[in-house]
Symmetry: C2
Subunit: 128 residues, 2 copies
């Protein structure tokens, strides 16, 4: 955990804006003027592998979320790309309560199940 990595993580945790790597880079640079964008990308990748941050890969540029404690989903504005948190309990019922809670005008939702297809499961088993 280098100085750079810890500042990146700290700044990401401080915000609820789900910044892009570049936005985060700007913020971090205020504290570490010599840091490079590459370092930010590299560390975000490492932090995401270790489960300390979450990538949000959905429409447009990648965004990052420093909140991995609370189970939650996201609402994305189709115009400005802004991403806001939505509590997962409200969502579990697939209720469009987000409209009330966040003021979003929800036009749809994007649900993608993540996992392993049968082939990749088999391939992984073969490797062991």
């Amino acid at each position: 955990m280098t100085r750079q990595r810890s500042v990146i993580l700290d700044e990401l945790r401080k915000t609820c804006a789900h910044p892009t790597a570049e936005e985060l880079f700007e913020t971090v640079r205020a504290r570490l003027p010599r840091i490079s964008l590459g370092t930010v990308y590299r560390n975000l990748e490492l932090l995401s592998e270790s489960g300390e941050v979450r990538k949000i890969d959905v429409g447009g540029r990648r965004r990052y979320d420093g909140n991995v404690e609370d189970e939650h989903y996201h609402a994305r504005c189709t115009v400005c790309g802004r991403i806001e948190d939505v509590s997962s309990t409200a969502v579990t019922a697939l209720d469009y309560r987000i409209e009330e809670v966040r003021g979003f005008t929800v036009t749809g939702h994007l649900l993608t199940f993540i996992g392993l297809c049968p082939e990749c499961v088999r391939a992984a088993e073969k490797r062991n």
Copy 2:
């Protein structure tokens, strides 16, 4: 609706593989050898605006779906990136029935609500 556009749409509707622009380009090229990748991108964009195809922007490269009739969700393999359809009825209950239906080992799901944030709604209203 030019020859190119109709062949692109036709090939996309024929497959259930949710191809990338480039994969689709290869398929279409078998019928229209002189078509260019740029044309494929341009037409997919137009078709998606007119609602005839759907973009799947979730993790990795963009993929396209020619099936806009049936309400359905997607399952993405974290290893090979493959995307498969999941019927929306099974999903509405947020059941992990995909495991049974598709053989996927589901490790999680990605739910994103799409819409307009309050600011963008206000901005849009102001413009009218």
